[in-house]
Subunit: 155 residues, 5 copies
């Protein structure tokens, strides 16, 4: 991952990049960690804080809804989507995770804005915590790297 | 959740918000509780009753169908969708829950209207009851809060 | 369910309603029962037979295909879709049921025509028979009621 | 099934029908059987060979891709899709089967061309062989019958 | 497979074919093997290296996103998509694989560009390695063959 970030840092294209982060407050313990990781990746990539706006929504379903609204403004090159869907007693989490993942994919395909997939689907809090900590497994960090690489990819 | 509601209450933007609630009558014991929770959240958010219209349909499949029709009128900023899909003997509930969740996502992405996901998918009535009672786990309440926050989010 | 039907009967809006029933002939023992239930619900709702046309197709996949063609004619307010997908040795039934349920949802969302979901997904013939008999559990009956209520819903 | 075919034979509408068959070469032992069944059904339906074109692609994923290209030409009333997805060690087959079934559904809904679903999803070769033999369980045969009935259905 | 490639080699249509390969760097050990297989298939098919461009993205989600952007340029006849989704502790891989497979299907259906499905979904590294080696089971190789055949298919 570090190598990937290095590539981003040297790219002059990322200097003008406009990026949004949409984060769900549900399972806040986890999503705060994802957001921290995302902001660290943004910093490591050499983006300035003013290139970035952070939006808070209630849950992962709303992350996708807001991401689409943001994508349609055509003001952004990348939107990083952060949320935490934890398995509960019912199958709710599976339907939600499916709809959100497919929904985020659709936003990317329909609008061309680079969507960073930082929505965790975990079976329990232990798994979720392992994906939002201060190390290289932070999926918020990875989602930012992926989205910046994609947004700055020349085709 | 209370904090979230507080944020809504102070927002002047929610004063002019037009919101619809679409509720399925199937598994009425559950969906009545969801509706009660939703109306409480609307009240707690400082919305007046005249800003809100409630629509009844047969089941969760029809909730999505009507929500799309309402969303296309462009008269509304938010639509809260309430239903209860309980696991039965067959896989019907899983296909229905998948289609409804993806369908509600599509409405949000296509129209930009804030969709509140208040459709319960539960394995049994005990689980369903635990999600429609007079406490903070009422998913109708949560869906209203999520939808109002999303609808009043400045981007 | 009876209450729901009563509401339909008194509605003057349903008097001019144009409704189609699309029924799959595959698993004919079951779908004949569904059709019977659907026609009974149509009768109970006070619709006249001339307001209704019945179409036969081979299987549930084709039900969705024809329903979309019918919906696009804009001559109809409601289309009731009847079929029976029974679990076999393979996973064919699950993929089919998923595609059909999502497909019918898409028709409703895209066209605004009220779609009645009367496609059974059952693990065996016993379960299927229990959903197409001459009682209140007939899903063809329920699908008609749901579709008429939806189609006559003022928004 | 025989009755259904008889109905097709007498229909004068099928005389001018243009139909394509798209067949995957992957798991050729199975798909050759499906194609044989499909061609028999075409013959039994009274269609002449010149009304039909057969296209070969690599696998079931490509069947859907080519079927959409063909459907968009607007030269065809029906496209019969033949493939064999057999369960392997991984979940690849499930994701593929899901995407192909939903994809074929989408083609039918978007274009109005009658799509015959002749893609087998089987857990093993025994199950696959049982669905492509010289008997009434040949799914290629059934897919042709279903597609012709649908394409010639007056609405 | 060899036979299929032979057919491609003789086709004069593939001489002017423009093809892109999009490869995910995540699980690089596997995707490097897929890329090697893909480039070998391109060579075996008689395409010259200048007819082909290779793009690197972070993961399989981004493969689909970039493939859509490339497809919309209308400069390409085929896009081969390479990635490796390996089962982890959570259900993340299943949702990702579902969204990616459906997403790649949608690109093919929407744009008409031939999409080669070379995204592996494996339960473990052993299964993944078995699908990216220097033999006929390399899915990168197979995806190129499938895509070229499809792109050069006259309809």
């Amino acid at each position: 991952m570090q190598r990937a970030v290095k590539k981003i840092t040297v790219s002059s294209k990322s200097r003008s990049l406009k990026l949004a982060v949409v984060v769900a407050d549900f399972n806040e313990e986890i999503t705060k960690g994802l957001l921290k990781g995302a902001l660290k990746a943004i910093h490591d990539s050499g983006l300035e804080r003013k290139q970035v706006r952070v939006y808070h929504v209630a849950g992962s379903f709303e992350v996708a809804e807001l991401a689409m609204r943001l994508a349609k403004t055509k003001r952004l090159e990348a939107i990083v989507c952060l949320g935490a869907i934890i398995k509960g007693e019912t199958t709710h989490d599976q339907h939600l995770a499916s709809a959100v993942t497919h929904g985020l994919m659709q936003i990317g395909l329909d609008t061309g804005v680079a969507i960073g997939l930082g929505v965790i689907t975990a079976n329990n809090m232990v798994q979720a915590r392992a994906r939002c900590g201060a190390d290289k497994y932070n999926r918020g960090y990875a989602a930012v790297v992926a989205a910046i690489l994609l947004a700055t990819q020349k085709i």
